[in-house]
Every structure is written in structure tokens, then in C-alpha cells.
């Protein structure tokens, strides 16, 4: 709780936090401190997010008019491919685990660092190498296969930089694997005394589940990309139907990773939301065990539903029926989370700070995203909806409405802890609301467009679809402004923000019991946990009077 005490570790001198403990380039690039690694991830992931966003802007501008006038079709193919690749592999997958998870997971469980700090640094370098390679390929002329790399187009016909981008994703995959491995080891062995499994914050449970998916899923995409690369290089292969290969096998292998990958993206987001909902309702979370195990259940079921991406691409109808059923089953643990969050808010003392606005936005958007997933999981309806904008809208409701909003909520929530500075609450709220409105305006029309039959991945479309497309593009502009604003006021807060104090939200979690920013070793002494998770009572050492005063100030 006490900043003065927390810093006097005798290590790195007095009054040094992780940011000021060493300022040379070497002290950053060769650091083993999970917090510095998280900050370096934050900077690079944000750059990839910006680039992916620019591609998205190009897509929306092109679709403003029915004709393909801004970019020609071949360029458009590259634009949406690169939007997908940058956003999925280099933003959505690493963002919450590698930034927020990396920074907070050890602090939340009372550890000095992740169990394998050098492996953590290695994973950052894999990310940089993989990302650099992908960027290089994009500069050379990019790739036009769609982010799914379907064969035989990607192996035999495409004339773009499939190999370089594939290698980039291959290398980046090891970053993901090593992060997941590190988290699992850390959660198993590094918990502070008294931090039992059922006292872990739900953010940590979500990261445990997502680490399992990373470890089990990512190697499969690695071998798939390797086979694809050999096939493309040597013109022999097992995915080319012309010589007896099986393109459906590629789809099976690809989606065996890439479907669980959407759970890699959304599960940590759900972990963030559990934190936000409970803490900003100032109420112990409802059904802790159910939320914890629903994360594990989503991770497990997530591995059994990949076939729902192949309902119309030659998979046997009996396999399709099983996959369809299992897809419906995944809705159960997701619904458990939604109900528990709602029940947590019920009769809670809710404060509408910026992170909570994001969390409430998440609940609405994820609800729509999840329920439209059921449309796409039913075999009959999907014949009509497959490869239309309905799929695009569903995916973005879950990924942007879910993951990105959860990430932004988490970033705002822990920003005072990470930097020691408070951002402008006024601009934070404006931006949160702009994102929510802009997002809905962008993607809700796409549900209608898709239902009316507008196919995805085309640069031009019939005139009848133009009105809704204009809505969508207008919404994208609002969304873009809403997403750029945090970049401005968060950076502004670094230099001009008020000092946040150790516990600006008056919360009981372990991360709020060390100084802001934390010292390199996180805690002055090894913390001993004597309270349950989300325990807002006096016995957890929380000063409720101060909390109330702060609430009175913010209103």
C-alpha cells in the first residue's frame, strides 16, 4: 500500500521504479523484467494496430462507392488480407496476454517476475522478428490470399509474398507458445503464500485457460505453415488436388489452430471484463468458480468446433452435424460468464469510470457477437450466410466489440498502475462512447448487408447496397477517431498527467498494494494473502472512507 516502503528494497537504489531503474538502451533490450517487456510489447503492438487500422480505413473508403474506384480488385485483395494478418496475428493475439498479462500476472499473484524471464524476453524477440518479416513482405508487395491462406490458391497460384508472411507468422507463433508456457509455469509455481487457486483474480484464470490454447493450438499452425511453405517452394504436395493432395486437410489443420485462436483473443478479454465488472461495481464477483471454470470449458470446447468453418467446403455432413452441436455447446460457458457479470452488477455500487464504460460496452457488443455466432453455427442457415458480410459483422462484434474494447478497458484501468499517471477522465469517457457508437454504426449495417447477400472480399458491389455501406464507412470514421483519441490523451498523461497514487480506484487486488509504477521486484516483501479475491470488506485492508471520498470527487 505504501509507496515509500515499497520502494526501499535496496535494489537499484532508493525511489527507483521499474521505469527509472536503468535508462540505457541495453537496460531495456536485455531486460528480464516482465514489466519492461510488457511496455515494449505495448509500443510495438500499438504500431501494428495502427497499421491494421489504416488498411481497414482503406477498405471502408473503397466500399463507400459500388464501383472499385479507389483501389483495383487485385490491390483490394491485398488490403483486406493484410488488414486481417496484421490485426489477428500481430495485434489481437498478443495484445492482452503479452501486454496486460505480462505486466500484471506476476503482480496479481504476488511474484517477483514470471517464472522464466529469459524465455519471456525471447518471446518478445520472436514477435519482433516475425512482425518485422511480415512488415518487410508487406513493403515488398504484400500478400493476397486472405488471412486464411487457403490452398491451392496460396501454394500454386498466388503471385504474392506468401512465403515471407508465412514465415513471419511461423516465427511469431513461437512468441505465443513461449508466453503461454511461461504463464502456465508461473501460475503453478510462483503464487505468493496464501494465494490459493481460488483466490486468484479471474484475469489470471482466463490467462491460464488461454495459455493452454496457445500451447496446444499454435504448434499445429506452425506445422501447417511449414507444409504450405514446402509445397509452395517445391511444387509438390499434399494440399494440391491436382496431384492427389487434399485441400480440405489444409482447412482442417488451419482451423484446428485458427478457431481456438479466436478464444486466444477473447478469453483474456473476458478476464479483463471480470476484473472491471467486479471492481467497478465494488462487489464480490458473482459465481467466482463458475466464471473460472467457464474459461477452462471454453478453452476445451474451443478445440472441438473448428469444423464449423467448413460447413460448405466439402466436409462430410455427419461431421458437420457434430461440429454444429459442439458449437452450440460453446455458447453455454460464454452465457455463464454473461449472466454472472450481470448478477455481479446487480445491487452493486457501480461507478461509471472510463474502464467501466468499456466493460458495459463489451457486454452489449459481445452479446450480439455471441448470439449471431449461433446463426453461423447452424448448418442450414450458414448456407445462406457463409462468406457474406454477416460473417464479417459477427467476427468484428466478437473481436473488436469484445477483444479490442476489453483491451482498451484494461489498458485504461491499469494505466495508472503501469505509468503512475492518471489520464484525463473526461476525454476517456468521450472516447469510450465514441468507440461504442462508431463501432455499432460500422458493423451493425453489415449484418443487414450480409443477410441481404452482399459477399465479403469484393471491391465492388451492386448499387442497392450503397446506403448501408455509407453508414458503415461513416461509422468507421467515428470509430477511428474514438480509437485514436486514447493514443493522444494517454501519451499526454505521461508528461502532464496527475500522479495516480498507488491505488486510484481503491481496490483490494494485489496489484493495487504496491507502488505505481511498481519497483522492479514488484513488492517490497513477499506479500502474504489473507483475503479472498474481490473482497471489499475492511479485513482486506481496504480503506472504504477514502474510496467514498474519491467517488464524491469524480461525480
Amino acid at each position: 500500500m505504501n509507496a515509500q516502503n515499497a520502494i526501499s528494497t535496496g535494489y537499484g537504489g532508493p525511489n527507483l521504479n521499474y521505469l527509472t531503474n536503468g535508462s540505457s538502451l541495453q537496460s531495456w533490450l536485455l531486460t528480464k523484467d516482465h514489466k519492461r517487456i510488457a511496455i515494449m510489447y505495448l509500443v510495438t503492438v500499438s504500431m501494428f494496430f495502427l497499421m491494421g487500422g489504416l488498411y481497414a480505413a482503406t477498405i471502408r473508403l473503397e466500399l463507400l462507392t459500388p464501383a472499385s474506384d479507389l483501389v483495383e480488385s487485385a490491390t483490394y485483395n491485398k488490403v483486406f488480407t493484410q488488414h486481417g494478418i496484421l490485426m489477428i496475428f500481430f495485434f489481437l493475439i498478443p495484445s492482452i496476454p503479452a501486454i496486460l498479462g505480462n505486466f500484471l500476472l506476476p503482480i496479481m499473484i504476488g511474484a517477483k517476475d514470471l517464472a522464466l524471464p529469459r524465455i519471456n524476453l525471447l518471446s518478445l524477440y520472436f514477435y519482433w522478428i516475425g512482425g518485422g518479416l511480415a512488415l518487410w513482405a508487406l513493403m515488398q508487395g504484400g500478400v493476397d490470399t486472405g488471412w486464411t491462406f487457403y490452398t491451392p490458391y496460396s501454394t500454386t497460384f498466388s503471385n504474392s509474398y506468401v512465403m515471407a508472411v508465412g514465415l513471419g507468422i511461423f516465427i511469431n507463433g513461437f512468441s505465443s507458445i513461449l508466453t503461454g508456457l511461461n504463464f502456465i509455469v508461473t501460475i503453478h509455481t510462483m503464487r505468493a503464500p496464501g494465494m490459493t487457486w481460488f483466490r486468484l483474480p479471474l484475469f489470471v484464470w482466463a490467462h491460464y485457460a488461454v495459455s493452454l490454447v496457445m500451447i496446444l493450438g499454435t504448434p499445429v499452425i506452425a506445422i501447417t505453415i511449414l507444409l504450405l511453405a514446402i509445397e509452395r517452394l517445391a511444387h509438390i504436395g499434399i494440399f494440391d488436388p491436382a496431384i492427389g493432395g487434399d485441400p480440405i486437410l489444409f482447412q482442417h489443420l488451419f482451423w484446428f489452430y485458427s478457431h481456438p485462436a479466436v478464444y486466444i483473443m477473447i478469453l483474456p478479454g473476458m478476464g479483463v471484463i471480470s476484473e472491471l465488472i467486479s471492481n467497478f461495481s465494488r462487489k464480490k464477483i458473482f459465481g467466482y468458480e463458475f466464471i473460472a471454470f467457464s474459461s477452462i470449458a471454453i478453452a476445451v470446447f474451443g478445440f472441438l468446433v473448428w469444423g464449423h468453418h467448413m460447413f460448405v467446403s466439402g466436409q462430410s455432413i455427419y461431421a458437420g452435424m457434430v461440429f454444429s452441436f459442439l458449437t452450440m455447446v460453446v455458447a453455454v460457458p460464454s452465457a455463464i460468464k454473461m449472466f454472472n457479470w450481470t448478477a455481479t452488477m446487480y445491487k452493486g455500487s457501480i461507478s461509471f469510470d472510463t474502464p467501466m464504460l468499456y466493460a458495459i460496452g463489451f457486454m452489449g457488443l459481445f452479446l450480439i457477437g455471441g448470439l449471431t455466432g449461433l446463426f453461423l453455427g447452424s448448418m442450414g442457415l450458414v448456407v445462406h450466410l457463409t462468406d457474406t458480410y454477416f460473417v464479417v459483422a459477427h467476427f468484428h462484434y466478437v473481436m473488436v466489440g469484445g477483444q479490442v474494447i476489453a483491451y482498451l478497458g484494461g489498458l485504461h484501468y491499469w494505466w495508472p498502475k503501469m505509468t503512475g499517471k492518471m489520464y484525463s477522465e473526461f476525454w476517456g469517457k468521450i472516447s469510450a462512447m465514441l468507440v461504442f457508437v462508431g463501432f455499432n454504426l460500422t458493423f451493425f449495417p453489415q449484418f443487414i448487408l450480409g443477410y441481404q447477400g452482399m459477399p465479403r472480399r469484393y471491391a465492388s458491389y451492386p448499387d442497392e447496397f450503397q446506403v448501408l455501406n455509407i453508414f458503415s464507412t461513416a461509422g468507421a470514421s467515428v470509430l477511428g477517431v474514438g480509437l485514436l483519441m486514447p493514443a493522444v490523451y494517454l501519451i499526454h498523461s505521461l508528461f502532464f498527467g496527475k500522479p495516480a497514487g498507488d491505488n486510484p480506484w481503491m481496490l483490494p487486488g494485489l496489484e493495487w498494494r504496491t507502488s505505481s509504477p511498481p519497483p522492479t521486484e514488484n513488492f517490497e516483501t513477499m506479500p502474504v494473502v489473507t483475503w479472498e479475491a474481490y473482497e471489499f470488506g475492511e479485513e482486506s485492508g481496504l480503506d472504504l472512507e477514502a474510496a467514498k471520498q474519491r467517488e464524491a470527487m469524480t461525480v
Partner: protein, 294 residues
């Protein structure tokens, strides 16, 4: 990084990293980490085994034909070599726990020796494939010029299933270094006994006749998988040899004792894992359709 620990503390626990409280915690972390790494390795090879399973169930005759060309003697020898190397590796861990430096060094050298023998045998086998035009990439096989005098002695060629397996091996002309496969006798056999799979009935035939080129493409899939699977396995062996060299260096310095032997045990886990992959590869690749050979 561990300046705040007293010298005495460091003296007692030489390998303790700064983020851990004691050796027990460190050892547990390292062990879980290694097992998780092996889990992801299993998934990595799992993708390949899936591809193998799909194509073997589609084209069993092509896989049997390809497998019959692999030399089960070399494969069996390598299996034996690897199992013995696993024994020497396990003994290394035992002697590391005992702190017996000399036995560690001897056993690590033996493990490396067996690992190298394995790779040497692999090289012999790959060379054989190179000579017989069985590398599935055009241009990577031995290039054999066309012998114009020998080719024109008969006006018609024998059907591709009419092969005398006891005749001396003929070198076929292969000017571009293509993948070559001339022998369709197993297709004929399966057709006569009516056990072609539905994929094979399409995949080996053109207009109801056995199509040598189409069959060759399916055999090429077998050799593609053979090279990818054994190649990745060999790559893991080479990494393992690198690990062993590092172990040899540290063991010779006498680093390991009953208090600190995790690096040896973890390298051992890796080594055993690579062995086990081979235990699966050997029957799947070498022992298919042996009865067709006799």
C-alpha cells in the same frame, strides 16, 4: 540481478535465479516448463501424423509401395541405436545426481556418439533415395542422362505392373532429376483381389486403366511425408546434439551434483522425447505392407 541476496545464500544454491525463493520452486518451474514445451512438440508432430493418417487411409497401396522401398534394416538399426542412447542418457542423469563427473562425461560422449550414428545412417538412407530418384522435389535427385542405344531395342513398353522384383535394378534415365516411380504391381494386386479404397479407384486410374503417373504422384506423397517427418526429427536430433555438447562442457567442469542437476534431467527429457517420436515414425514409415515383399 540478485544483489540483495547475501553471498552465503548464493554459495549454497549456485543455480538459483533471482525470481525464485528457493531451489525447490525453481526446479518445479523448470520441470513444468519443459513438460509444457514437450506438449507443444507433440502437437507440432501431431499435425504431421494427422496428414500421414489421412493419406495412408486414402492411398494404402501407394504407402505400402513406398514403404517397401525403405530399408527396414537401417530403420531397425537406428531404432536400436536410439534406444541405447536413451539408456546412456538416463544413466547420465543418474550419475549427475551422484555427482560423478567422469561417468557423466563418458555417458554424454556415448549419447552423442549414438546420436551421430543415427544421423549417419539417415544420411546413408537419404543418399540411397537420391540415387534412386525418390526425393519428391524435381531437381534434387541424381540426374541420369538418357542412354540412346539402350532405349530403342523394343518397340513397345511393358505395362507398369509387370515388374520382375528379382531382376537387377535398372537405372532409368532421369535428365531433370525428377521423382521417379515405375512399379505399379501393388495396384494390380489390389485390383485383382478387390481391396482398392474408393479414393484409390479414382486416384490410380485413367479410363479404367492403371495410370502409372497418377500412381507415382501418390507414392510421391508418401515420400514427401517421409522426408518431412524424418527431416524434422533429424533436425530435433541435431538440436539435441547441440544440447549434449553444452551438457558435456558444463559436466566436465563438474557443475552438476545431487543439489543441482536439473539441466541434465531436462536435456534428458528432450532427448527421450525425440527418441519416442522415432519409435512412432519407424513402424509407420518402414513397416507397411511387408508381406508384399515375399
Amino acid at each position: 540481478m540478485s544483489a540483495h541476496y547475501s553471498d552465503k545464500f548464493v554459495y549454497h544454491e549456485p543455480g538459483l535465479q533471482h525470481q525464485f525463493e528457493d531451489m525447490g520452486q525453481q526446479e518445479e518451474s523448470v520441470a513444468i516448463g519443459m513438460w509444457m514445451f514437450l506438449v507443444q512438440e507433440i502437437m507440432f508432430f501431431g499435425g504431421l501424423f494427422t496428414a500421414y493418417l489421412v493419406f495412408r487411409s486414402k492411398y494404402p497401396m501407394a504407402f505400402a509401395a513406398g514403404s517397401n522401398h525403405l530399408d527396414a534394416f537401417w530403420g531397425g538399426l537406428n531404432t536400436l541405436v536410439l534406444i541405447v542412447s536413451s539408456l546412456t542418457m538416463a544413466l547420465t542423469v543418474y550419475y549427475a545426481q551422484k555427482g560423478n563427473r567422469n561417468m557423466q562425461v563418458i555417458l554424454i560422449v556415448l549419447t552423442m556418439f549414438f546420436g551421430s550414428v543415427f544421423l549417419g545412417v539417415k544420411a546413408i538412407e537419404y543418399t540411397d533415395k537420391y540415387n534412386h530418384g525418390l526425393i519428391p522435389v524435381t531437381g534434387l535427385n541424381k540426374k541420369i542422362k538418357e542412354d540412346k542405344s539402350a532405349n530403342h531395342e523394343t518397340g513397345h513398353e511393358k505395362p507398369c505392373w509387370d515388374v520382375d522384383h528379382n531382376a537387377p535394378v535398372v537405372e532409368h534415365a532421369n535428365p531433370r532429376g525428377d521423382f521417379q516411380w515405375k512399379d505399379c504391381s501393388l495396384v494390380k494386386l489390389a485390383q485383382d483381389h478387390n481391396y482398392l479404397t474408393s479414393a484409390e479407384k479414382i486416384g490410380y486410374f485413367s479410363n479404367g486403366e492403371i495410370d502409372a503417373d497418377k500412381f507415382r504422384d501418390k507414392v510421391r506423397i508418401f515420400f514427401y511425408l517421409y522426408f518431412v517427418m524424418t527431416g524434422l526429427h533429424a533436425l530435433h536430433m541435431i538440436v539435441g546434439l547441440g544440447l549434449m555438447s553444452w551438457l558435456l562442457w558444463t559436466a566436465a567442469k563438474g557443475v552438476y551434483s545431487g543439489d543441482y542437476y536439473m539441466p541434465v534431467e531436462m536435456s534428458g527429457l528432450y532427448w527421450h522425447f525425440v527418441d519416442i517420436v522415432w519409435i512412432f515414425l519407424f513402424p509407420l514409415l518402414y513397416l507397411l505392407g511387408r508381406h508384399f515383399l515375399h
